[in-house]
Amino acid sequence: MPVSLGYIVQRLFLTLIVVLGVVTIVFIATRIIPAHPEFLWAGPHATEEQLRKAREELRLDEPIIVQYVYYLKSLLQGDLGVSWRTRNPVLKDIISALPGTLELAITGFAIGIALGLPLGLLAALNYGGFIDKIVRTSTIAGSAIPIFWAALIFQLVLAIKLGLLPGGHRIDPSLAIVTGFKPITGFYTLDTLLIGRLDLFIDVVKRLIMPSLIVAIYPMSLTARMTRSLALESLQEDFVRNLRSWGVSDSTIIRRYVLKFIIPPLVASLGLSFGYTLVGAFLVEVIFAWNGLGMYIVMAILSYDYPAIIGGIMIVAIFYTLINAFVDILHAHIDPRVRL
């Protein structure tokens, strides 16, 4: 059942307004709140000459509204400034870091849903019972774990103490040099397969396991909890009892009836949680020296590289807004009840 074009246009228009809001908030935060925005722009060790140039670039001597117009104009041209740590245009850095983050976040997200959905169903079917209590407790515990700490402890136990899995990096650095590995898409699992190097692929997958499992904790807890409460609601419906009384097995009822009620609202709320999974992945990246956006932003923070910090965060917020819009449209597409 497709959604109307009108709905999509309306939703995209709303997205555009929110994106404008996001860049405006960033403008206020970086140009109006600080007393000397040029210090942020040129870095802590800037010379007088560099500061003067920065003032000129940002047009700080002109009225705020003029600054704002030029700010929007440069954003439209993809100009987020230059990172003084890497000396690259910020946008270029972000684009090269994004695939690393996405590979980690998407894998973790997928693992989380794949584990959380059956757990939630199991809990609902055993409402109030032992399994339900276990699932309920562990999902609550899952959302209380500080993800960066969990990453550190996993690294300590699995990598350092037991040596089961590599403790960091997306690919073995020396192996990458020896083989002359160059990313194509930036998704290393894909790239190693594209160049037909199974040994590299296995190395990349091994390195992906631990961080993605940690990233999966949050979406798994959320999926399990949502599924549980949605399933509890559906299982109380008359039609479930009726199907049972006509001899349809519980597994068929779940698979072919209850899931139809669970999936659409689940998609809606999980879509929103992808943003949080992404931010969770950032913190995990830092621990595992994982070359991605999170590492990039944290390195920028540690070296007071403001164009990189602000640009990175702004791009993520815009990305997040677009995901929300996409999820809304997808939700309307699969759930006839929400359509306007």
């Binding site: 307004i17 929110v18 994106v19 809001g21 996001v22 405006t24 908030i25 960033v26 935060a29 970086t30 709140i33 600080p34 942020l40 409402y127 109030g128 209590k133 309920r136 407790t137 609550i140 515990a141 959302s143 209380a144 774990i145 500080p146 993800i147 960066f148 700490w149 969990a150 550190l152 402890i153 690294q155 300590l156 350092i160 409460s229 509890l232 609601e233 109380q236 943003g275 949080y276 992404l278 931010v279 913190l283 830092v286 621990i287 932003i297 944290v298 923070i301 540690l302 403001y306 910090i309 602000i310 965060i313 993520v316 917020a317 997040y320 807004t321 929300n324």
Partner: protein
Amino acid sequence: MTAPWKSLLHFIPYLKSDVLGLFGLTVIAAFILVGITAPYIVPYPEDAWGSTYNVERRLQPPSRSHIFGTDEYGRDVFSRVVLASRFSLIIAVSVVTLSLIIGILVGLIAGYWGGPLATTLMRVTDMFLAFPSLLLAIAFASILGRGLFNLIIALTIAWWPWYARLVYVQVNSVKNMPYVEAARVSGLSSTTILVKYILPNSLTPATIQAFLDMGGAVLEAAALSFVGVGVKPPTPEWGLMISEGWHLIGTAWWVSLFPGLALFFTVLGFNLLGDAFREYSNPKTRRLLESRGVKL
């Protein structure tokens, strides 16, 4: 009239049958108590505040005199973990209170008066909600610079929109309740109606939510300190302490492990109580609890 308060009154007796919720409440009570008394109960108060450097006992593993071991500066980790609860408590209470006040003002104005002002306010709220809250907080914290006060401001900027939305929705639903309608018809002034009817009924859910959100505030504050935009060293703060032990993880795991455990259990306490409250106040699960689908 104030149904939410009534439901809160019954919540405490209900907890007797919810072991996990009761555990959560206990942990929270302990957290608050320790937060208040921390400086007087720690074995090494000077270490706790972070002003010491004891070369002779650097990086000692847990022992009888230092049950959580010592850190790079020879400070007693246990003392610091305990005192950190006070800073977490200060941050959580401040962030949640400030966010709640802003949220209530915005939500109430937008919800009660409506019109173009309401639309504008809620649009602005939505724009703030477009950021994952942790990222927005990181952005502001990095601009404002490190420090306890700036950390609180940055987190508040990221948090208030949630309460604004909650209060707005609540005011909108209370506004059209029959008893408010009746008050209006009987000629009560709009301020009286606001203070006597709308405020109490729309603030309770937000306040309860805010209390339960304190766990989240503790967690986000720790994350900010961990990435280097939170409190300044040598402040004892769980996120910062985990970060200080990060590069020592292979040799002195205790420096990071114990602050993390404290952080985990505190947040867990709030989450457990929050979950028990949700389970208790959700009419759907409530019906299940009471009747378990019984039809006689």
